[in-house]
């Protein structure tokens, strides 16, 4: 075998195979669901969603609970009092947990 033949078989062919596999895995990642996967502890970028069985269950004020624009403003301590007071009066129950 000449040098050029050796190079072709032992370098060019494996290199071509590696490139094909890399390209396929790139395509698979961008098209598949892999990018959406949530892994605890890693930042997860998504649009917030609120599921209801029917839209009329949501009041008009809640629809625009957040003003147009990005983040919700921070509450001052006074506002927390006024907002959470009726909730306390209505005795909501439930549970809290973290993971």
């Amino acid at each position: 075998m000449s040098v050029s033949e050796t190079l072709l078989i032992f370098v060019a062919i494996p290199l071509a195979a590696v490139l094909v596999i890399t390209a396929l895995s790139r395509i698979g990642r961008s098209g598949g669901t892999g990018s959406k996967r949530y892994r605890p502890g890693r930042p997860f970028d998504f649009t917030p969603v609120w599921f209801l069985s029917s839209p009329e269950h949501l009041t008009e004020s809640a629809r625009t609970a957040l003003p147009e624009g990005a983040d919700a403003r921070e509450l001052t301590s006074g506002e927390i009092e006024t907002i959470s007071a009726p909730a306390r009066a209505g005795v909501t129950g439930g549970a809290s947990d973290r993971w």
Binding site: T33, K36, R37, Y38, R39, P40, G41, P43, F44, F46, T47, P48, V49, W50, F51, L52, S53, S54, P55, E56, H57, L58, T59, S61, A62, R63, T64, A65, L66, E68, G69, A70, A72, E74, L75, I80, I83, S84, P86, A87, G90, V91, T92, G93, G94, A95, S96, D97, R98, W99
Partner: protein
Amino acid sequence: MTAGKSVATTDLPESRTAHPAGRPDVLNGPFTTRQLLRIDDALRVADQSTGLIFTVYVGPLDEPIREHAQRLHAGLVDPARAVLIALSPNQRVLEVVTGSEARKRIPDRDARLAALSMVAAFGGGDLAGGIITGLDQLATRAGRAA
């Protein structure tokens, strides 16, 4: 989503128009189409069998987290009969808020139990699975509509 019975509302109204290509905004959320259908189904079954209103919010929650979840809950039309499951994957917190009527059907102890199994699924990275089991558990505990 099936037949428009169920909706997913985003917090930011202007982001709804961000995709003129006809791709619904909810698909930019944390779930795939198949998962969305399963959640939709679980919500509908839970609502119909119990007569309560179940809602699921997935998104950031501001501090204080419990108060934010209660504010979301208070924004529903009939908060007394509503059950809100609010979770923030990035903050890794879960809040279950039950209204005064719903609380009689789902005691806090059972809500805690459902929260525990949801958190177990979330910790494994399975958001949709956790939501569906949680809804199922809460609906089972609430029982049939009177």
